[in-house]
């Protein structure tokens, strides 16, 4: 097995105006591992993922996928890299002008290797993998519940059998049971595909279920890394305050009077 990490991030910096969001993030994620990134609102978790996905251009630093510096790629090269990546957005981000099956098969249709009929059959198969029946395929995204939208978003993310999967707050807005169902599906899909995964979440139960490893972002830097199973007893005062939701601790919230 190669020693090159699947994803390597070095010195990643990003600021929006005067606000520094990422301040020198370093990250190594070996192939086949799952990393959960935790951190407070506005700590830069989503920005980190969007930088890796190429949706935001960082101010400084490098991002390598399979040893290739993806920041130096042209648009076509970047699109080739993205074909190996799947992403589940926080609000699922389903295309509301398309039917469910067209959403799921979007990446397959974009590759132009399948006919629409074959793509629809494939979409129905993938929907079954996330526990949705064929009757859902012809519905519009607006006809689905939040949990079903997340499942369709997951189906779309795994449709092209990506090597890397990103999950942005996969259980936000779902009840605890549906959250556990989505987590279970994520773990099953990641294991089945053998993908490398990065998930960002506020949900500690979800974090321990999804991740092999975990890290915490605070003020634009990774302040702790360890096994996801040790999140609730990490021994790090910041992580402990965050995971147990304590008001007192090293993290002070900036509240206006």
């Amino acid at each position: 097995m190669s020693d090159t990490p699947k994803i390597r991030v070095r010195g990643l910096c990003k600021a929006f105006g005067p606000k520094t969001v990422l301040d020198g993030v370093d990250l190594d994620l070996p192939a086949g591992h799952s990393l959960v990134v935790i951190g407070g609102s506005g700590s830069g978790k989503s920005v980190l993922i969007k930088c890796i996905l190429g949706l935001i251009q960082p101010d400084a630093g490098t991002i390598e996928i399979d040893g290739v510096d993806v920041l130096s790629l042209d648009r076509a090269g970047r699109e080739d890299v993205n074909r190996r990546i799947g992403m589940l957005f926080q609000n699922a981000a389903l295309f509301d002008s398309l039917k469910v099956w067209e959403n799921v098969a979007f990446g397959l249709l974009a590759m132009r290797t399948l006919s629409r009929r074959a793509a629809r059959d494939r979409a129905v198969e993938i929907l079954a993998q996330v526990g949705l029946g064929p009757e859902v395929a012809m519905l519009a995204p607006s006809e689905l519940s939040g949990g079903m939208q997340k499942r369709v978003g997951l189906a779309r993310a795994i449709a092209a059998q990506p090597e890397i999967l990103f999950f942005d707050e996969p259980t936000t807005g779902l009840d605890p049971i549906m959250g556990a169902v989505i987590d279970g599906l994520i773990v099953d899909c990641v294991k089945k595909l053998g993908s490398t995964a990065i998930a960002i979440t506020h949900d500690m139960a979800s974090a321990t279920r999804i991740g092999d490893q975990a890290c915490m972002l605070f003020q634009g830097r990774i302040v702790w890394t360890g096994p996801a199973s040790s999140l609730l007893e990490s021994g790090n005062p910041m992580v402990d305050q965050f995971t147990h939701g304590r008001r007192e601790g090293p993290i002070t919230m900036q509240l206006r009077a």
């Binding site: 996905l53 949706l55 990546i85 957005f89 981000a93």
Partner: protein, 261 residues
């Protein structure tokens, strides 16, 4: 000296902002157009945008054209009667409708209907991460969302204006023959005598330019919207207002090009 610098700064800021906006729109337009000649092209999306532009805008454009033609006939007749030139009514109607009112009114109506809808749709896609999702699925949003709409607008509006021109003249004909006592033969002869090929060509060229403007402004403001529902609302307003102003500005420029002697 400080006052002078403040004054220059106060003038310079909006000038720089306006220049940046023009540059930004120009880059957006060129990027969108460049995707028309680089495969793949999304014909299905082009078809959908074309139907939205042409077919679903037909009722509003048709009604606008008919009533405009009727009003022009009535106003021309009452105005020209004052100096015994009521006989020129048919020629005024056809030239007004074909050269100006057809393309301009159709452009403005479509800007309000389709341009606003485009801005709202793309704006909503932007603020709900759907445009980001396109990118993660290796699909260029400019190619997928913008290029088909630009082409649809440019092709659809001339067809709409062709219909609007005919209906506008028909509106004038109805008022002229039923209310103003013109003979049908004389009215039609006068209409056809005054209508030249260059009138129709200029009407269609204007329509193509206006259709492109409507699609460009709808896509540009929608694509760049931010800030949730309020941002989408602002994008929609900006799309309609900027398209309307550009249509009227380009109408003058194109009229100058076609008819200035």
């Amino acid at each position: 000296m400080t006052f002078l610098l403040d004054l220059l700064a106060a003038i310079g800021r909006p000038v720089l902002a306006a220049t940046a906006s023009v540059g930004s729109v120009a880059i957006f337009a060129v990027t969108g157009l460049s995707h028309l000649v680089r495969p793949p092209f999304y014909w299905r999306l082009f078809g959908r945008a074309f139907i939205d532009f042409a077919y679903f805008s037909l009722p509003v454009v048709a009604l606008t054209a008919i009533f405009s033609g009727m009003v022009i006939a009535l106003q021309s007749y009452t105005g020209f009667s004052r100096f015994a030139a009521a006989g020129a009514t048919a020629s005024v109607v056809v030239l007004s409708v074909v050269r100006e009112l057809g393309p301009v009114l159709a452009g403005l109506m479509v800007a309000g209907r389709v341009g606003a809808a485009m801005a709202a749709e793309l704006g909503t896609m932007r603020v709900t991460d759907q445009i980001d999702a396109l990118q993660t699925l290796s699909t260029n949003p400019m190619k997928y969302l913008v290029a088909p709409r630009l082409l649809a607008g440019t092709i659809a509006l001339p067809l709409l204006v062709l219909v609007a021109d005919v209906l506008g003249v028909l509106g004038g004909f109805v008022v002229g023959t039923l209310k103003l006592d013109f003979g049908a033969d004389a009215y039609l002869r006068s209409t056809l005598d005054f209508l030249k090929t260059e009138d129709v060509v200029s009407s269609l060229v204007k329509a193509a330019v206006f259709g492109f403007i409507v699609a460009l402004m709808g896509c540009y403001h929608g694509y760049r919207s931010k800030g949730g529902a309020q941002g989408v609302g602002a994008a929609t307003t900006a799309a309609v207002v900027s398209a309307s102003i550009l249509i009227l500005s380009f109408d003058y420029v194109l009229t100058e090009l076609f008819f200035a002697r």
